[in-house]
Amino acid sequence: MKLEFLLEHLPMMMRATIVTIQLTLVTLVASTVFAIPLAIVRMREYTFGARMVAWYSALMRAVPTLVLLFFVYYGLPQIGVVIPAFVTALVGLSLSAIAYNLEIIRSGLMAVDRGQIEAARALGVPGWRIWWNIAIPQAVPVMVPTYLSNATLVLKGTSVASIITIPELTAVANEIVSETYRPFEILLGATAIYIVLGGVLTLAAQVASRQWQAK
């Protein structure tokens, strides 16, 4: 094992790491923005909307992210939609991330005690106030640890985007390997980077849950 191979290619891998971080963050933000209203729709059990969201969620969680990505990558041009590769990856990864996040958000909201909501209604407090001051502050501590652990999965899931030419960490590592024939050093380096990134998220999850458990 010769570490100089790794050191030589480290700048290239760091640039790829930035792409990985970008793709992770954008996917997380986009999927969360879509997941919040869908979670609320999904909570109203017996409506048409709720059933549609439930189906969407079940379907997207059943299909491998790679397959979803291929659908978007090959499917969209078929119907005349040509978008940049990065956006394609974002859409493909978000489709499943939305499904997971909406379930996480929903279970957090469901965990809020009905009795308190009822007590607030009995006092004549407006609905949005009940959400904002009572329900959400109690739902967030429940969902944040799960949300962050799911974020780790999103981070690792971005490696799938290597298939569609996104120059993220896995793609670039593979490329370097095929040029240098030194898989061990390069993949070890890539793994270390993933561990650091994932570790940050895990740490955040621990801090968050400890922070809120104190109360």
């Binding site: 007590a119 607030a120 009995a122 006092l123 407090v125 109360k215």
Partner: protein, 274 residues
């Protein structure tokens, strides 16, 4: 005394049929109230008048509709027939083009601000301190300014004996303390009537007693109260009237001395015998 109050309807000059408000001396009047979930009736033809300043205890076996009746008074449960009057206002309905229609949520909200409710499970807001629990509704439902809401809250919390717990969270309080805060929270809205839904059922006898003391004081100070309870001694010693419910109906309304006597309905005697 039989449970009866006729559904009075007057025809005013416009020729509309309009329900007549109860007498000035009546704080809560329930007329011909019915509620069904689908085909299953929960309340059937309930009539009850609570004069201002009186305490009415509602007793009866589980599943007899006591809690549902209480929840109809502030429209947490929507009756399917009949009328509820609180402080001279018809609750849950409004007049549109000369007709009565179900009131929208925003009007129900206004109705609810004048009825205080205390629950079996306390239902304090767990993310707020004692002081914040008590000021929450005055600030966010009535639009009071924080300073005056806090001043009032402090005096109410002092009244239930918890001044030393202003900044505690509900999880740091005993059940009895939580329920006393819940009473202060309801009183902070200056309610016309207080509804107690088995307020002491989740408490051991000792903690229940400290809550019952507060309830008794309130009653003696002239608060109008509807109290669903299994505490027979409270019903007997504090209530002005006792309502016995069974299978969604009122079986008997009587003064405590009558209900706890040989003259009571045989079913009630069976219920009270141990």
């Amino acid at each position: 005394m039989k449970a009866s109050a006729p559904l009075s309807v007057t025809t005013d000059t416009g020729g509309r049929r309009w329900p007549e408000p109860p007498a000035e001396s009546v704080m809560v009047e329930i007329r011909d109230l019915g509620l069904s979930y689908g085909a299953r009736p929960v309340l059937k033809g309930v009539n009850l008048a609570v004069p201002r300043g009186q305490t009415v205890a509602i007793i009866g076996p589980s599943g007899s509709g006591k809690t549902t009746l209480l929840r109809c008074v502030n429209y947490l449960a929507r009756p399917t027939e009949g009328e509820i009057w609180v402080g001279g206002t018809l609750v849950g309905q409004r007049e549109t083009h000369g007709k009565l229609e179900p009131a929208p949520e925003c009007i129900l909200r206004t109705h609810r601000t004048v009825t205080g409710m205390v629950f079996q499970q306390f239902n304090l807001f767990r993310n707020l301190t004692v002081l914040q629990n008590v000021t929450f509704a005055p600030i966010h439902a009535n639009g009071r300014d924080r300073a005056s809401a806090e001043e009032k809250a402090r005096s109410l919390i002092a009244r239930v004996g918890l001044s030393h717990k202003l900044d505690a969270y509900p999880s740091q309080l005993s059940g009895g303390q939580q329920q006393r805060v819940a009473i202060a929270r309801a009183l902070a809205m200056d309610p016309k009537v207080m509804l107690f839904d088995e307020a002491t059922s989740a408490l051991d006898p000792e903690l229940a007693r400290e809550v019952l003391v507060v309830m008794r004081e309130l009653s003696e100070e002239g608060m109008t109260m509807l109290v669903v309870t299994h505490e027979m001694s409270f019903a007997r010693n504090v209530a002005h009237q006792i309502v016995f419910m069974e299978e969604g109906r009122i079986l008997q309304i009587a003064a405590p001395e009558e209900l706890f006597s040989e003259d009571a309905h045989p079913r009630i005697k069976t219920f009270l015998a141990h």
